[in-house]
Symmetry: C2
Subunit: 325 residues, 2 copies
Amino acid sequence: MIVSYAELAGTLERALAALGLEPDRAPRCAQLIADSTRDGVPSHGLNLFPRVASMIRRGAIDPRGRAIRVAGRGALERWDGRRGVGALNAFDAMQAAIAGARASGIACVALGNTNHWMRGGSYGWQAADAGAIALCWTNTLPNLPPWGAATPRIGNNPLVVAVPRANGHVVLDMAMSQFSYGALASYRARGERLPVAGGFDRDGRLTDDPAAIEASRRPLPIGFWKGSGLAIVLDIIAAALAGGRATHEIGADPEQETGLSQVFIAIDPASLEGVAIDRVADAVVASVQARYPGERTLAARRQHLQQGIEVDDEAWTIARRCASA
Amino acid sequence: MIVSYAELAGTLERALAALGLEPDRAPRCAQLIADSTRDGVPSHGLNLFPRVASMIRRGAIDPRGRAIRVAGRGALERWDGRRGVGALNAFDAMQAAIAGARASGIACVALGNTNHWMRGGSYGWQAADAGAIALCWTNTLPNLPPWGAATPRIGNNPLVVAVPRANGHVVLDMAMSQFSYGALASYRARGERLPVAGGFDRDGRLTDDPAAIEASRRPLPIGFWKGSGLAIVLDIIAAALAGGRATHEIGADPEQETGLSQVFIAIDPASLEGVAIDRVADAVVASVQARYPGERTLAARRQHLQQGIEVDDEAWTIARRCASA
């Protein structure tokens, strides 16, 4: 089924309002979910909506919970997400970090007690649209074996790094697993092998067979020991600064994944005299002569705004049913 | 040849003084180089000393150049490294970031016009020793093909993330290439294959043969497209904030690698009430039941302090000759 962006966002807004999001909140949340879908990341947009709806209905997400500042010194703040909607909490935390960066050059908000932020890249685009550089990350449930182990004990802890640029922001949105379970399922459904080894099979051999990795539950950290180490240290920083949970304290069931910890750092390049971020970014992008982070997002966005967005039938049906409830 | 830490540091101090470093600077620089060697990273310690000496002699590094603050707003500063000794500039920049974090919770120093910082992890250990969380990175000469290209156009841009912990700091020091050229040479010299694919051969096939990768000059970015993207965005941020060079503006000859751009971010966890960094870090490290970043460094440190440090004959000879000049 192909729908327009306006239809997608409108339906999601009505659905979220029906789920209990307040009138000043449902439109923003609908926009974040619709934008991710429009940008070619439906796995972290519309296709996550059914899980959000079910978690709200079960009380795991409080649709009226709003993140509040609970501690701070200077440009560093701790926020309590109060089990609210993850995407809205993340958006609010990044807005506060951007505002802090305008005042202090750099600022950081650590957000605990929150929920899945859906597409992490959203908060990179948000910062870049506001002219800010951003680094942000989240922890997750244990879904990845650390290097040297066979069972999932670390999170894939996505890291987002964003640079504003007039000719298209440069936005990296990178989980610490080489392929997500969603990506593995897509390759398997298409009958394809992975382009590179993506994990271990049940016998501990590296494999490019997506089904073998789904069966072993042993996806590969990016860079083997390196991505494993990065996931560990990002988890510690997020949980400690936010006063929230670390990955090992989060249950292994995705339907129960709640109480996450996140960090949002924003830097305002305009606060330093003479920062030529557009010139530098244009020159680097040109010099690389290869794909830069964010390029495919913009291409998908253009295509989907022109031609409509192919939506997952099941997720779309659930959203429509919810909207007309 | 095996030498004690004291002999290594003392010899380096005399050598650096002979090269023109001032009396208040040579001891610190010697300590940074000796510490890296003691910690099991001679490739970025003593073994880089001959190149530093040669670059000072040729005037590419100014042994008396000191980094100075040239712009700032709030907790964000830009420093000019004035082509000074890279390790000292990086140390000074991190000290300033730590001091800024004590005042503002988080602070950032962007350092341009500097030189190779040798072991990036040094500045992570420095911050952690001071009780601070740190993120820092450097750009480099173009030594890595971006994903999808066959010629080196991005840097391996090491990223360091550090967390202080009473039971041993957690410090990740991670270049964006899966293996450095130094590591490739070591595997080749031992007649070993790499533990995982580390790059492409001349025919564009992934290989674990270190010599084939040295020949093709096509080492692999960690996580394939992911490490490639991270290198690109870190380069833009460093060059733009520092007002310095991006990777494509740095010459391809390691003997001429100068004018680098770096970013140092420090966060003071003690500035937020109730941050239990030791408890969180201990619990995460215990939960992982696998190697954590920094663990091997501490093991190497203990061993080398007890048993002495095996030094590279050529580098040691050059340092000793320089020290007695």
